[in-house]
């Protein structure tokens, strides 16, 4: 069983604190929604978990080990914004590269392509694809490695309805995949359809909650009422 652990972790951008003595331990597989206002530090958390940023104090461990390049490579797949894709290369080129790096075969590529319905455009240059198509390719690249932890950063942003449905189905399927999946999103309505287990970025801390009521109502409670108070 994989464990993600933050202990008394603090991180700041140029004296602007993002996390202060934040602690969290995740061991249970499933989909977790990472929710917070814009600019609150959701993507920063993903960067910290991947070792792309280092906390000023405190520790982050993945299965008890610091997130070195090797540990992250074997433990985490990070589905970033589609902007990381090379416009002149096709989705297939990207998938072949990631597959080779992670020792995955053509069958794995085919399975992931089928999951995200990429067949119609995977051979086209990424630069010619729509936003939703690019996003699906980016997510496919994160699914391919089959790592114990999957991070998806705003996977539902700016998508057409078809793409939203495909990704929602994917996320529902990931609930029972045995993996820890963190999904950051502003689309609470969609997140609700996938999970009720949330990580709320409140101030400089992380609050893990199981929300039995509407997620939007809880969001309002945490962020809007706090603002007015």
């Amino acid at each position: 069983m994989t464990e993600i652990s933050l202990y008394q972790m603090s991180f700041a951008y140029r004296h602007h604190p993002v996390y202060e003595k934040a602690s969290l331990t995740l061991t249970q597989p499933g989909v977790y929604g990472l929710v917070g206002p814009n600019g609150s530090g959701k993507s920063t958390l993903f960067d910290l978990l991947c070792g792309l940023l280092r906390p000023q104090t405190g520790t982050i461990t993945l299965d008890g080990a610091a997130p070195s390049a090797g540990v992250v490579f074997n433990t985490i797949a990070y589905g970033q914004d589609a902007g990381v894709l090379y416009p002149r290369l096709s989705g297939a080129d990207h998938l072949r590269f990631v597959a080779k790096q992670h020792g995955r075969d053509a069958a794995a590529i085919a399975a992931v392509s089928a999951q995200l319905d990429l067949a119609a455009f995977v051979a086209q240059p990424v630069g010619s694809l729509s936003m939703g198509q690019k996003q699906r390719v980016a997510i496919a690249l994160a699914l391919l490695p089959q790592t114990p932890v999957l991070l998806l950063d705003e996977p539902l942003n700016g998508l057409d309805p078809d793409s939203v449905i495909i990704i929602r189905k994917l996320l529902v399927g990931l609930q029972d995949s045995g993996r820890i999946v963190l999904v950051s999103s502003h689309n609470l309505a969609e997140l609700e359809k996938v999970t009720n287990h949330y990580l709320f970025k409140v101030g400089t801390a992380l609050q893990e909650e199981v929300v039995t009521t509407a997620a939007e109502a809880r969001y309002e409670e945490l962020f809007h009422r706090a603002a007015t108070e």
Partner: protein
């Protein structure tokens, strides 16, 4: 990583356009040279025509001596005119060699047809000796000269010869011409062709590393998560940049060779080239006002004739070293200036500074003069008698290594905005 990079280079870069430009420049240079050679030949024929007219007038003179000399001169000038107009290189060489066969002080002075006889007496003694050495070499190795026959003058010795150093017409019509394939490479070395090639290559390849971090995009972070470290990324990019540069230059040259072989022939790799080596002081063969013992103007160096193959071999070594340094410097510039435009502009402008910066032992561009390095004239510029080619190559390779080390300093990478 190699596969991904290969696809990026093949699909993302207009390498065909780069190749086309290089080939066009090479072929253009050849055609321009052939045209200038034809113009020089025409000019020489016109000079002979003037003398023919003069000789004809003398041949009709009332004075019997003048008439005899005029008829002799008329026959000579007609022969010279026929040789030049028909490209009879062997005939021109034979005639010129006969004149240079003298050689003890006080003997008849040498002449280079059809330039006025007294032209040779205007030469610095060292240049006359270089001329003689060139002719000896051509005869001994049975190499056909390139017409018009070159007079190896040097701007350095302009203060001691009687030639008007600013007489562009003279230099234009007595300089070495390069009308075939191998001699064209010689010309490229002389006119800074390597620097032009670098500018063209960098126009297409100069942002090889910067493209990973340009603007809002940062592929570096994504690649790091795919187990591609910054070091591996830089070394892969460097390898592709260097190999692509070599391949483009080699392919362009290959296409040029095919064109030149059909157009004017490949040329003779034994052709005599002036080089500078440390040696004994030159003893002038003739005595005239400028043929003094300061024939040893370049002391402790002297002009030595060497085969073109040796010269081109050294130049080829320089080209490979400079291409490696160019690739490493491109990585360094891109590392610290992650802007594609900056990488491209610096890559294009920097080599072209060669054409505007003054010569100085403190200027790196001085050491990129292909002709000076291959002929060792650079030793004279630096005030040494050593053969500098190995040191220049070593220095360039050291610069490449340092630049690559600098580029390997890791970057943190930015998140996509």
């Amino acid at each position: 990583m190699v596969g991904l990079e290969w696809r990026k280079w093949v699909r993302g870069r207009r390498l065909w356009a780069c190749l086309l430009i290089l080939v066009a420049l090479m072929i253009g240079c050849l055609e321009m040279e052939r045209r200038q050679q034809a113009a020089a030949t025409d000019w020489q024929v016109r000079q002979v025509d003037k003398r023919l007219a003069q000789a004809q007038r003398m041949a009709k003179s009332a004075d019997p001596t003048a008439r005899r000399l005029g008829k002799q001169d008329l026959a000579n000038q007609k022969q010279i005119r026929r040789r030049i107009a028909t490209g009879d290189a062997a005939g021109v060489l034979a005639a010129t060699w006969r004149s240079f066969q003298g050689g003890t002080k006080g003997d008849k002075l040498p002449a280079v047809a059809p330039i006025a006889d007294t032209m040779v007496t205007m030469l610095h003694a060292g240049e006359a000796e270089a001329m003689r050495a060139q002719l000896v070499y051509l005869r001994q190795h049975n190499v056909a000269p390139i017409l018009p026959l070159a007079i190896p003058t040097n701007p350095d010795t302009a203060t001691t010869n009687n030639l008007d150093a600013y007489d562009q017409q003279f230099f234009a019509h007595t300089r070495q011409y390069h009308p075939d394939a191998w001699t064209q490479v010689w010309q490229w070395a002389s006119v800074g062709g390597l620097l032009v090639a670098l500018a063209v290559l960098n126009l297409f390849l100069g942002d090889a590393l910067a493209e990973e971090r340009h603007g809002r995009v940062d592929h570096v972070r994504w690649l790091r998560l795919q187990n591609v470290s910054w070091r591996r990324l830089v070394l892969t990019k460097f390898a592709f940049h260097f190999v692509a540069s070599l391949a483009l230059v080699a392919a362009a040259f290959g296409l040029f060779l095919i064109y030149a072989a059909v157009r004017s022939g490949l040329g003779d790799l034994r052709y005599p080239v002036q080089t500078w080596v440390a040696g004994k002081a030159v003893t002038p063969h003739w005595a005239w006002s400028t043929a003094r013992d300061d024939a040893n103007f370049f002391l402790p160096l002297q002009i030595q004739i060497a085969p073109l193959a040796r010269y081109l071999g050294r130049y080829a070594g320089l080209v490979v070293a400079v291409l490696a340094a160019n690739s490493a410097l491109a990585m360094l510039v891109n590392r610290f200036l992650p802007s594609r435009i900056a990488g491209l502009m610096i890559g294009v402008v920097a080599p072209l500074l060669f054409f505007v910066l003054p010569t100085s032992k403190f200027s790196p561009w001085t050491y990129l003069n292909g002709d000076w390095v291959a002929s060792n004239y650079l030793a004279h510029v630096l005030g040494t008698s050593a053969t500098v080619w190995p040191y220049v190559l070593g220095g360039i390779i050291a610069v490449a290594a340092l630049a690559l080390l600098g580029a390997l300093v890791p970057v943190k990478g930015r998140r996509v905005a």
